[in-house]
């Protein structure tokens, strides 16, 4: 059965999602959708429910309730079909330390049903300028190279939806810009991206729309400029603003300024 296109080419639909860990409700009734070719950001403080939402979409945790459709496929009823349509870059990616990066690309190509030939793997690596590192192990790469490899492996099967959990965390400005370019390249190719981030700069530069999530609930959702316009006059936002209201002011105004662990 092919993907259901009747919903207007939505790459992802999440409806009333809840995720609980024992007595703790990490995600409480979250709903949003992502259009084809859209970059959607989930912005929230630590422990807000960003990674739990992503984990539910990826099938790593079982939602308590709610619906998830990936490219029209019910991810809870057909998890394998849904996973085949998703590319995932986890927050802290770990690969088998005994394998070279060429072998890792061949492994994951096979697991996603793409060609696992050596030449195909080398082509993929060349596309992200890692061809000269093909014989190295993942641990021997720099932080930026590791992120590039993780993103390559996430997209090795050309998925319609890519999930990126804090993709630029810990990167230097050059590597971050390079990664943004790759993400924008995906959008130009018609792929959709859901990314979580702590970086307001990233949300403003890359995302078409942003949802601010806190205590497991979406507190506001709009374009970055729309969020600023919508909340510019909120007393909490005005209180934390230093001059012209920024996305960071909106974020802190909506989620509070206390430290989160």
């Amino acid at each position: 059965m092919g993907p259901d296109r009747s919903s207007g080419h939505l790459a992802l639909e999440v409806s009333d999602l809840t995720v609980t860990y024992g007595p703790t409700a990490a995600v409480q009734g979250v709903s949003f959708s992502i259009n084809e070719g859209e970059i959607f950001g989930l912005l929230g403080p630590n422990g807000a429910g960003k990674t739990s939402t992503l984990s539910a979409i990826e099938g790593l945790v079982k939602p308590g309730s709610g619906a998830i459709k990936v490219d029209g496929i019910d991810a809870r009823a057909r998890p394998g079909d849904a996973r085949a349509r998703i590319g995932v870059q986890l927050q802290s990616t770990s690969f088998q330390k005994e394998l070279t990066i060429r072998e890792l690309v061949r492994l994951y190509s096979g697991l996603y049903g793409a060609s696992r030939s050596k030449s195909a793997a080398d082509e993929h690596l060349a596309a992200v300028h890692l061809d000269e590192e093909a014989g190295k192990r993942f641990g021997q790469l720099s932080g930026g190279q590791q992120k590039r490899l993780a993103l390559l492996i996430a997209t090795v099967h050309d998925p319609p939806l890519v999930l990126l959990d804090e993709p630029t965390a810990g990167l230097d400005p050059q590597s971050r810009r390079q990664l943004w370019e790759r993400i924008e390249h995906m959008r130009r190719s018609g792929r959709s991206v859901l990314l979580t981030t702590h970086s307001m700069e990233e949300a403003q530069s890359v995302c078409d729309r942003v949802a601010i999530i806190d205590h497991g609930k979406i507190v506001s959702l709009d374009t970055p400029a729309g969020l600023i316009a919508k909340h510019r006059d909120d007393p909490q936002v005005k209180k934390v603003a230093r001059g012209e209201v920024t996305l960071e002011d909106v974020f802190i105004g909506l989620t509070g300024s206390e430290l989160r662990d």
């Binding site: 860990y21 990826e58 099938g59 018609g190």
Partner: protein, 258 residues
Amino acid sequence: MTDSAERPITTVPGIGLVLTSLLDADLRVQLRNGRALVVSLFLPMVLMYTLGAGKRGALFPASTRLAIAVGVGITSVAILGYTATVARDRETGVFQRLRVTPAPTWAIMSSRLAVQLLSILVMTVVVFIVGGVLLNLTLQPGAYALTMVVAVLGGAEFLSIGQAIVGLLKSADTVNAIGRLLYIPLFALGIVANVSILGSTVETIARWSPGGALISMLAGAMAPATWSSDHWWSVLVSLAYSLVFVAVGIRWFQWETR
């Protein structure tokens, strides 16, 4: 990635391709894992030699020495090697990365178990070669084939125990500690069951322990003329242990450490 806006509709890969990819990767990991090679080959060699040295040679005939060496090798692969690798990969997030692919979880685990069984077969062949060439420990031709079959059965028994340990315990450190604690009693009971130096109660307990059943099967397989109903009972006991422990290890296996 392609530039085309016309993207392909991605489908679930065939299980053949998934298993080929996993087996290829797991075999490479196993071959490059120095610790696994040492625990699976070094200890059997040492025991095979030391049990035949001096007066001990009379207590441990050739078939028993080979049986103990193979038994220790199986215990090492399953209780020390397999559990440590699975616990490490779970803790570092390797399993998490594999689980977000369309590969079924049973395929991820089956590939690893298949590679461990292959390691056990390779270890058995190496023990035979070293035992035959360097220590003159030889068997009848049919005994070699029968021992290989029994090594797979014993391997399944001990890997299922390893699966239960790593399934029930989350922390890699705890898995390693428990593996080391259980390792000695598991194979020591196998040795005790085959020498009449302790009381009959201890011997009976040892005889039907996982290690006792394994060593009994191996000793029988290495001397097919002596194969009796006792050895068939060992096969049944070994199968029962395999079923119980693998059920526990799969039912309660925790894919993440959180």
